[in-house]
Symmetry: C2
Subunit: 298 residues, 2 copies
Amino acid sequence: MTTTQRRDEVTETATANLGPIDHALVSFVESSSGAARGAGSAAQRAARYHLESGGKRARAELALQAGSALGIPDADNLALAATVELLHNSSLVFDDLQDRDTERRGTPAVWVRFGADVALCTGALLLSAAYGALSTLADQARVGPLVAHTHRRTALLIHGQTADLAVANHTSTTLREYEQVAAEKSGVLFALPIELALLYAGWDTAVEQARRAAHALAVGYQIADDLEDLESDLAAAGGKGRLNYVSLANERSGSGGIDLARERALELLHESIALAKDLPLGAGVPLQDLAKRFAARL
Amino acid sequence: MTTTQRRDEVTETATANLGPIDHALVSFVESSSGAARGAGSAAQRAARYHLESGGKRARAELALQAGSALGIPDADNLALAATVELLHNSSLVFDDLQDRDTERRGTPAVWVRFGADVALCTGALLLSAAYGALSTLADQARVGPLVAHTHRRTALLIHGQTADLAVANHTSTTLREYEQVAAEKSGVLFALPIELALLYAGWDTAVEQARRAAHALAVGYQIADDLEDLESDLAAAGGKGRLNYVSLANERSGSGGIDLARERALELLHESIALAKDLPLGAGVPLQDLAKRFAARL
């Protein structure tokens, strides 16, 4: 079987599962004592509202594809995908609240629709449900190591979030610091789908390489995004501007930020492709596909 | 061995462990990738600040005593106690932020000292660390069921928190609704120490009785507290008053709220003692002790 054939099969499997993933996300949030007793909590209603507002489920798709490649049974694969997606959505609800972003996926953000207090409870509920999803694995011997890993990565995600808050109020951010924050804030949630699948399937020694591939992907994507959003970022926050790789690069060298950003983004995306290529059993194919898609836009 | 002898031994064990529990709490928060890379995140520093500000560790003590009675090995017993205490402290950090309470244990609340954004991240980190603690159990076969149970109970705690927010803005709360919210908001965290110990030790069939004993204890305690705080609650919130069982009872029957509250609190505390007495191997003794102590104050 060629890599291309496998990739196509893998993509089909993942797409076929995208109905089940939405169902799984809602059920992990609602299958708790609170819901059993009646209408469920305001946080459960808000979590459902948030989950049903859409989202590409890109991280769930990464998990499903990697898990299929590694031969993880469907039900457990779905639980791993749900864990990552619940964690991601928890961070979105918290982010919108912190940044006072009023819209998410074209509808009012949870804190706008339900108030800040309920939004806070909703973020916490989604975070707890991510661990609840892990607890349902048929292979119970994997729960301990996967919970341990998920906590370590969640702590790093939170590290990135507080660093981001600090950096946003800081004018002397270096390019390296900027990349570090991007790796933690978005790299963790691109890495976790592959990491959990590898750990589940016993490929512990490949986890570090998956992390590096996913972090390079996330930072490359962030810089590509900054290139596309340059004008709106410059105009953001009432003319004060939003932190952007190109502006930071220009501040350092006077000009040439656009070229520098494009080169760096391509370098990182190619690094990601090279690292992902060597992951076992084609588990890195979905990362490679994403990196190629991002690179093609540059 | 008489019940009294066992109780004294159990109390000694618990007290001897109270140094280790503080150490364990901080290490579960800091033993993550974020901290390994340097100074740790602002959320880690804030979590440490919060944990070091004191607290009676009453829930950890309940867990340690119940676990000792049930013969749980020390290291795992400590992890269970840490889980409950981390969850409790997560809820305190979130609560203070939501209620804009400026002080906790005589020092500035986390959101006052570190800002609302960092406080939100701190609550999330402590919640995640509660699951991280469970993942360290030497008996790895117990991790799955205990994570599942902790998520269900966390969902109920969050249910109670959102109901509390709703009830606080509602004038027609019934006494039953008030008790329900108290059971969820504080009962869950009195029950969880005993529930986790019972589940770990294989006494699954006793979990429901432990829950009922702990919820009765928590509601009885809340009403006893309301009796003590009646004057300050009436004067709170700029004369609008803070929700209090006695005031609610007076609103319904015109007067006699104090007698009604005292009777109900005693009824619940005696119910708690009766339920806790029958738990296996004296696992309910610490609940009985608390209930007796609260009843003696009435």
